[in-house]
Symmetry: C2
Subunit: 285 residues, 2 copies
Amino acid sequence: MKLDKNMRILIVGLGLIGGSYAMGFSKRGYHVSAIDTDQNAIGFALDKGLIEKGASTVDAALVGEADLCIFALYPHVFLEWVGENQRFFKRGAVISDVTGVKAPVVYEIQSMLRKDVEFIAAHPMAGKEVYGVQNSDDRIFLDANYIVVPTDANTFNAIEVCKGIGETLDFARISALPPKAHDEMIGFVSQLTHIIAMCLMTCSKSEHLVDYTGDSFRDLTRIARINENMWSELFLLNKDALLDEIRTFTDELNEIHDILEREDIDALKTKMRLSTARRALFDKK
Amino acid sequence: MKLDKNMRILIVGLGLIGGSYAMGFSKRGYHVSAIDTDQNAIGFALDKGLIEKGASTVDAALVGEADLCIFALYPHVFLEWVGENQRFFKRGAVISDVTGVKAPVVYEIQSMLRKDVEFIAAHPMAGKEVYGVQNSDDRIFLDANYIVVPTDANTFNAIEVCKGIGETLDFARISALPPKAHDEMIGFVSQLTHIIAMCLMTCSKSEHLVDYTGDSFRDLTRIARINENMWSELFLLNKDALLDEIRTFTDELNEIHDILEREDIDALKTKMRLSTARRALFDKK
């Protein structure tokens, strides 16, 4: 279900994702405002029509009129912001986010939050290798997953509003996962893949071989250009799950190493057939 | 330097690469013929104008008139073919190939070959996730590397002809490497990346997480659809180099695992900055 167009939406944090949300909502006729400490980001967003109103400080009026506040900040900044400024929220407002790790954020926000507003977490699995509101592009959502991450504390209404964000922005797939399952999933499909891409670039063989890279190597390292502040925070917040995924992957890599070492062609081909079949399956999705 | 258009070119093995070579040469006005055991492949290539003449058996006349024979076969089939049929080569012919592993092939071919013909190895680093002459597309070379792999036994003239193949087909970059250096490079930039993509699909976490894959996971596993006969042969032929690359990568992955485990943020960010800087560098190439 799409969101109600009379709703006032406030985006806090106008980076790539915040800016792309603002763009997507504004294009579709919603009232969007934003807060970001960077006045240039606010100026740009006003200039390009991504938002109707904006402020570079915590503007009580902007926060107080918002029916839906979406936070697109680093996790620790998000936690601090809510701790310091939650008195400004409108009674009955729905609060959501775009944070990439959930368990260490969701429960803390829900436990500190005023009882007359509700936090419902979400994770838009979309991004680019460039940053900032200047690179905003709401088309990045069209082929992407949107995951609602409810807890037992959430109401049906807030979950529907949260799903409505994904539906309004035309995400390709919308699903729901509890915080812990979300973090395990993200540890594998997103964090581990970033670690692998990094490793390919940082391991000793990389430096002098750049001249010979083909498509395969480029594909596997596209995400090796990594925002060290954001990703180191996300990795550490999800440390246990991520370490577990790294070990799972390393075990499999060691197994294939040993298969190759003993020249067990049948076992090698069995792995290859499994890999091909599973990959073919998700090309169909 | 482009090849002389009066040259008669024979492609042995009309798969994706052989077919794309035939297409590229024919489009540019060269005389191209082909041999493949699959009569359908020959029929298709004749029908589409990829070749002027073709045969599904080792046709003495076709082989005997070729000034340049390019082999696009699995390594062991290539070795067998030359062993059995080299009496048909034209005196003075240049023989080349597209084989993905060099040291176990080049020296054996050169040592068994008649002294009045010359083998000069090459590796076009291009491909697709689909197979067969029906998927031929010479545009796959436009953004690709072409590597000439000479030995001490090669003459200046043959090396120039071999470079001429890459230049005629408009490869983006043409370079030269000795066989051992080539195989180490390919073990890292191509074989290791295929192993990693496979591992991501075959490790235990993969099966139930397909619904949540984003772009990163798709990029890292595009090459996980793998031709098990070709790649198992190439992996085993390059076993020592590949095992070494797997260990280099695993060592780095273990190092990052340990950095994360002890929450050494500075070390983690240093790795991320190195990764970003190296990847940015080769985006410029």
